[in-house]
C-alpha cells in the first residue's frame, strides 16, 4: 500500500511527507552527513573509521558547533584529535570505561539535552556479539529524539547496528598503507555508502602524527 492510498484511507493519522534532511559537510571531500538523523560508520580495525569520526568532529567544531563523544571503551586520543584540527574545548568527552549500558544512557542524555552539532557514539572497540545485543528500541528512541533537532548522531562500529534507524550507513574499507622504508607515512582509506547503496564513494588520505 503506497503513501497516497494510506493518506486516503487513514486521513486522521496525519501522514505527511518527510522533507529531505539538511546536510552538513562531513570533513572529507564528497561526504555530507544528514542532520537530525543517525549515520553509521562501520568497518574493521585500521580501516579509517576513527580518522573519519575525528575529521567530522573537527569539521563541526570549525563551524563553532558544540560536539560530544560517548567513548564506550575510553580509547579517544586527544593528541590525534588536536592534530586533525579538532577544537578540544568544544568537545564534551565522556569516558564510559567499557560499560556499554552507561554509554547508551550517556547518549540518551546527550541526545535529549539538545544543542550539540554532532554527537559521536564510539562502539568500535565493542565486540560485535555484544553490540548486537543493544535493543532496537534504543536506536528508535535515539532516532526519534534526534529527528526534530539539527544534530548529527554518528555511530562508529564494526558492523551496522542501528540499521533501519540509520539514514546513512558508511563502510570504510581496508586502508592502503604508505610505508617509506621503515617509516609509516600514512594511509588511504576508502568510504562507500551501504545505505543508500552507492550514494557515496570516496577516499581520503591520513597522515601519521608526528
Amino acid at each position: 500500500m503506497n503513501v497516497p492510498t494510506l493518506l486516503q484511507r487513514f486521513p486522521q493519522m496525519g501522514w505527511k511527507d518527510r522533507s529531505a534532511p539538511v546536510r552538513a559537510p562531513g570533513g572529507i571531500t564528497g561526504l555530507e552527513l544528514p542532520r537530525g538523523a543517525i549515520t553509521e560508520v562501520c568497518g574493521p580495525a585500521s580501516s579509517g573509521r576513527t580518522s573519519l569520526m575525528l575529521r567530522a568532529l573537527a569539521e563541526a567544531t570549525s563551524r563553532q558547533e558544540i560536539c560530544a563523544l560517548a567513548d564506550t571503551n575510553d580509547s579517544f586520543d586527544p593528541a590525534s584529535a588536536a592534530a586533525t584540527g579538532l577544537d578540544l574545548d568544544r568537545l564534551l568527552w565522556v569516558r564510559c570505561g567499557g560499560n556499554l549500558d552507561h554509554a547508551l544512557k550517556v547518549v540518551d542524555l546527550l541526545v535529549h539535552a539538545g544543542g550539540f552539532g554532532l554527537l559521536a557514539f564510539d562502539l568500535a572497540g565493542v565486540r560485535q556479539e555484544i553490540a548486537r545485543r543493544i535493543p532496537l528500541a534504543a536506536w528508535f528512541r535515539f532516532r526519534r529524539a534526534i529527528e526534530p533537532t539539527p544534530s548529527i548522531l554518528l555511530l562508529v562500529e564494526q558492523q551496522p547496528n542501528a540499521r533501519t534507524c540509520a539514514s546513512l550507513i558508511l563502510e570504510t574499507g581496508k586502508q592502503q598503507q604508505h610505508w617509506s622504508g621503515h617509516l609509516l607515512h600514512g594511509a588511504t582509506a576508502s568510504v562507500s555508502a551501504r545505505k543508500p547503496v552507492g550514494a557515496i564513494h570516496t577516499r581520503f588520505d591520513t597522515r601519521a602524527v608526528g
Binding site: G27, P44, L54, L92, W93, A113, G115
Partner: protein, 415 residues
C-alpha cells in the same frame, strides 16, 4: 527639620529610637531626619534635649544642632557647643560667626579665602555671588550657599549589602534526601527571588549541613555561567548529594550563593545553536553520576613530551573564537587504557611476531624503534622504545617496550 550629632563615632543602635532615617555623614558625624517629631517629642528643643540626654547617659559629650536643612545642622553641630536650634529663615545669621574651617571646603580654597582676609561664614556670604562664581566656579557657589544655610539635599541612608544566605534549624534530624529536597527548594526559591530583586544571578552555591554527630557536610557547586533558576540549582544539589550523601542525619542546613552579574549574551544570527547552560549543567551532573566526575569534561593537552598526556577540565567554557582551519586528516590512534600486555618474538632486536589478548599475528611492516623518555627526576619517569607495525591482516598497532622492565605493551591501534 534635620538634627546633627557631633562628635559621635560608631553606629549606635539607639539612633533609630529618634529617627528611622539616619545618615552617617562622616566617621564622627551623624545626621537624623527630624520630620514629624512633634507628636513624639513636642518641640524641636525637646527633641534635641532628648538626644543630648541619651548621649550623656551613654557617657558621650556631643553637640546637637537642629536646622531646616542637613548641611546647616551639620555646620552648626560642628561649630557650636551643646544644643543649637537654627530657626527656619535665620540660617545665614546663625551661621555667620562660624569660622571657615567648618565649611568643609578643599584646603586650597580655604587658603585663598584666608589670604583675602575672610575668616567666617559671614565674611564669605558678604561677597557677591557672581564674583565668587567667577573666581571659584560651581564649587564657589556651592560653598557660598552652604555658608548662607541655603543648600538643599536629601539624607543618604547607609546602604547595607544584602546577604544571600539562608539557614534552617530542623526540629528533628533528617535521614532521607527526599524531605531534604523540599527544604532546599524552599530556601532556593527565597534566595533566587532575592537575587532576582537585586538584578543578580549566582555562579556558586554552597550547602553546609550540620550533622547529628557534630560533623559538617559541605558541598560547593560551581557553575561556569551565572544562573538564576532554582529548579536547576535544586536538581544539581540533589544529584551532588546522591553522589556524596552526608554521613549522619542532618540537624541544620545553610545555603549560600555568590551573587554576580547575570550573563548577558547576544547570539549572532548565523551562529549555530549551543546547549543551554542550565540544561548542559544538569546533563553533565547526570552523566557524572553515571560514569564519575573525572570521566566527563573537555580534554586538555599537557605541555609535556610524555606520550598521551592530557587532563580533564570542566566542560562548558568554550572560547568565542573564529573557526579554526582544519588541515589534512591524521591517522587516528585508538588508545588502549590500560595498555595490553604483549608477548613478542624478536629477531635481531626487532619484533617479528606479537601476541596479546585478542591480537595475534606476524608483523609484515615495521617502523621504529623510537626512543622516548623523560621526567627522570620523578617517581613516574618513563623510558620506552616504540614501534609502529602492521600485521599480516593489515591492522596497524603501536607497540611499546618499557626499557626499565623489558615488558612489551600494545598501546594503541591506528584506525
Amino acid at each position: 527639620m534635620y538634627a546633627c550629632i557631633y562628635p559621635l563615632s560608631g553606629r549606635p543602635g539607639w539612633l533609630n529610637d529618634f529617627s528611622p532615617l539616619v545618615e552617617f555623614t562622616a566617621p564622627d558625624t551623624v545626621l537624623l531626619d527630624a520630620h514629624g517629631i512633634g507628636t513624639l517629642f513636642g518641640s524641636p528643643e525637646n527633641f534635641a534635649a532628648a538626644i543630648h540626654a541619651r548621649a550623656q547617659s551613654e557617657g558621650l559629650a556631643v553637640n546637637v544642632a537642629l536646622a531646616g536643612n542637613p548641611d546647616t545642622a551639620l555646620a552648626a553641630a560642628r561649630g557650636f557647643s551643646g544644643i543649637t536650634i537654627v530657626p527656619p529663615g535665620a540660617e545665614a545669621r546663625s551661621l555667620a560667626p562660624l569660622p571657615l574651617c567648618h565649611l568643609g571646603a578643599p584646603p586650597e580654597i580655604i587658603g585663598i579665602l584666608h589670604r583675602w582676609g575672610l575668616k567666617t561664614f559671614g565674611d564669605l556670604t558678604a561677597l557677591p555671588i557672581k564674583g565668587v562664581a567667577e573666581r571659584f566656579g560651581l564649587e564657589g557657589v556651592r560653598l557660598w550657599k552652604l555658608a548662607r544655610g541655603e543648600s538643599r539635599r536629601p539624607l543618604v541612608p547607609p546602604h547595607e549589602a544584602p546577604t544571600f544566605s539562608e539557614s534552617l534549624d530542623l526540629d528533628y534530624p533528617l535521614t532521607l534526601l527526599e524531605p531534604l529536597a523540599f527544604l532546599l527548594a524552599r530556601l532556593l526559591n527565597e534566595l533566587c527571588a532575592r537575587l532576582e530583586s537585586h538584578g543578580l544571578a549566582a555562579n556558586e552555591i554552597r550547602l553546609r549541613l550540620a550533622l547529628a554527630n557534630g560533623a559538617e557536610h559541605v558541598r560547593t557547586i560551581r557553575l561556569p555561567h551565572p544562573m538564576l533558576n532554582s529548579r536547576t540549582f535544586l536538581k544539581l544539589l540533589q544529584l551532588d548529594l546522591e553522589n556524596e550523601p552526608p554521613a549522619a542525619p542532618i540537624v541544620k542546613l545553610t545555603l549560600a550563593t555568590t551573587p554576580v552579574d547575570p550573563r548577558v549574551v547576544q547570539n549572532g544570527l548565523f551562529l549555530p545553536a549551543v546547549p543551554q547552560p542550565e540544561k548542559l549543567e544538569l546533563t553533565l551532573a547526570r552523566i557524572a553520576q553515571l560514569v564519575g566526575r573525572e570521566n566527563v569534561g573537555a580534554a586538555e593537552l599537557i605541555d609535556t613530551h610524555r606520550p598521551g598526556a592530557f587532563r580533564m577540565k570542566h566542560f562548558g567554557l568554550w572560547p568565542d573564537r573564529p573557526a579554526a582551519h582544519t588541515g589534512q586528516p591524521h591517522l587516528a590512534l585508538r588508545v588502549y587504557r590500560p595498555p595490553l600486555q604483549a608477548r613478542v618474538r624478536s629477531r635481531d632486536g626487532q619484533p617479528v611476531q606479537i601476541e596479546a589478548p585478542g591480537i595475534q599475528g606476524r608483523i609484515v611492516s615495521l617502523a621504529g624503534p623510537w626512543r622516548t623518555s623523560g621526567d627522570w627526576w620523578r617517581s613516574d619517569a618513563w623510558s620506552h622504545d616504540e614501534w609502529d607495525l602492521a600485521l599480516a591482516g593489515g591492522t596497524l598497532y603501536r607497540l611499546s617496550r618499557d626499557r626499565s622492565t623489558g615488558a612489551w605493551f600494545i598501546t594503541g591501534n591506528y584506525d
